[in-house]
């Protein structure tokens, strides 16, 4: 009788542990995938914005980067996405290099670029390639 009671007690500990863990697993399974880091666009669709740009970029070296997302907490994510798309080119978060990739929320926003840059080509959807304005 005592042994049966002990057995039940130990089984209760074991099942409590198992069930409480199983609840956490179930919650993980039931949750929908987390929000994507780049807003409403899927990452692949976002990367495709740069397909045409990549064709005119040099094969190696470093280019600059500018965007209009300084206030956006997801801003760095957009920069990394461009770096990922442009690899093996190094994308420097600066407007100093000779070539600068513009990654804006829209083509209209691209017009507010610094005066030391001239537009080489506007690829649409806010993707612009700039070059330094040489005196």
């Amino acid at each position: 009788m005592k042994l049966a009671k002990e057995r039940i007690r130990i089984y209760a500990y074991v099942f409590s542990l198992a069930v409480l863990c199983l609840i956490s697993t179930a919650r993980f399974a039931c949750e929908s995938p987390q929000a994507r880091p780049l807003g409403e666009n899927s990452f692949d669709q976002y990367l495709h914005r740069f397909d045409e740009l990549k064709k005119v970029l040099p094969a190696r070296g470093a280019v600059g980067y500018i965007d209009d997302r300084a206030e956006n907490p997801l801003g760095p994510g957009y920069y990394y996405a461009v770096q990922y798309a442009a690899a093996p080119l190094v994308v420097k978060h600066s407007v100093d290099p000779d070539l600068v990739i513009g990654n804006f929320t829209s083509s209209a926003a691209a017009s507010a670029h610094p005066t030391n840059l001239v537009t080489v080509r506007d690829f649409g959807q806010g993707v612009v390639l700039f070059r330094q304005r040489h005196p």
Partner: protein
Amino acid sequence: MRALAAALLCLLTGWALVCLGWPKHTSLREQLLLKFSLSLGCGLGIFSLIFFLNLILAGSGTVLLATDVAVAGLLSGILFFRFRGSTTGPKPIYTRKQPARLTRILFFTLLIAFLSSMYGLVQRLLGNPHGEGWDAFAIWNLHARFLFLGRDYWKEGFTNLIPWSHPDYPLLLPASIAHFWTYLGRDSVAVPAVIALAFTISTLAILVSALLQFRGKDSACLAGIVLLGTPFFLQQGVSQYADVALSYFFLATIVLIWFHQATGSPELLALAGSMAGFAAWTKNEGQLFACALLVSLAAIGCGFQGFRGCVREVSLFVAGMSPSLVALAYFKIRIAPPSDLFQAGSTMLLKAADWHRYWLILRWYGKDFFLFGDWFLIPGTVLLVAFGWLIGRQRNRQQGSATWVSALTLALTAAGYFAIFVITPYDLRWHLRYSLNRLFLQLWPSALFVFFMLVRTPDEAISARQMAPSTSQ
């Protein structure tokens, strides 16, 4: 088809290395699940080293394929001659008869947890094939792209010009991914996703299969249920960060240390060294873990086996680590810029003298101890402490040395993380907030293994309660 061939070659290489590390008198068919789970990490580790060597020597894709086949062939050949005729192996270390009903229920609970987890993992991988969070494409997969697409200029990608890309992080994951991409001829997003999933499942498989040998089915199933009941582990598993891969290598090393203690086989210690080397080649925290393990082996080894035995053990362990350490040293010295965590000595000393930093880190350690797993209702750490207290500690002291080595290694690694936070150049709160939970996660599967090695199995607990009145009379 190419991907399948590459995966098979990778697994064959890993399998051969793992089996070579197993005791000589055992059969190749023994402990299949454990060996297969260890093969994944070994195979990827070797694949990454071969790819890195090929990059340095500017070899072509054909040379890479030839090297892969040669290494796999060589290891398999040695394996064939070494194990020719071996048909019997040791019985499982844990031989107590366990209540069939409880085992059945726990097995089905584990199965349900596994299937639920797989559903969630696959759903997330399909929803975010590039990983969850920025680190996947800002660090690990970006490095893989530099290795794969950079051709002769791949080193240019490892520069401080790209902020937060951590160019000093080692290359096990990026080089493995790039190796598979070379076979495929394109940078398929499926490769890092599948590798991430494989590491997650293999970590579970190592935990369960190792405990099955040492502590029987009930403890093995329970440990698996607890690991799958850690949502943060699953979430990080498909995030394509390196933390779960690192936790895999930590666990593999610790498990092999226990097997070494149980069998006395020196090959297992060398294999444990290989796993620790791969951990160091995966992420900087792995280097800390490898150092902690070396210190623990030396300190505990001296106590248990004397100086000579200790030197022999440490030498075997270092021999296993050496291929990864050589690659790591070359990468750190010749290619990677200095780590962003270390500043001028005077600045670090000033931070080390600031006791407010220690108090803040301690508070975060305390807080994340309860929260890091993203558990529902009750933290898994609290559940385990309560479970351990209720069910009691097993009294078998045969595994003493391995217990102390594992516990000291995990404690030293956690203390090392603490020290890094003390001197971090970044805002301390920010740094703790975005990394401490992942650091705890790296140690979690190993901590679970050690925990279930130390507490009684359910049948031991029942027997102990049954004995208690008679011994008190």
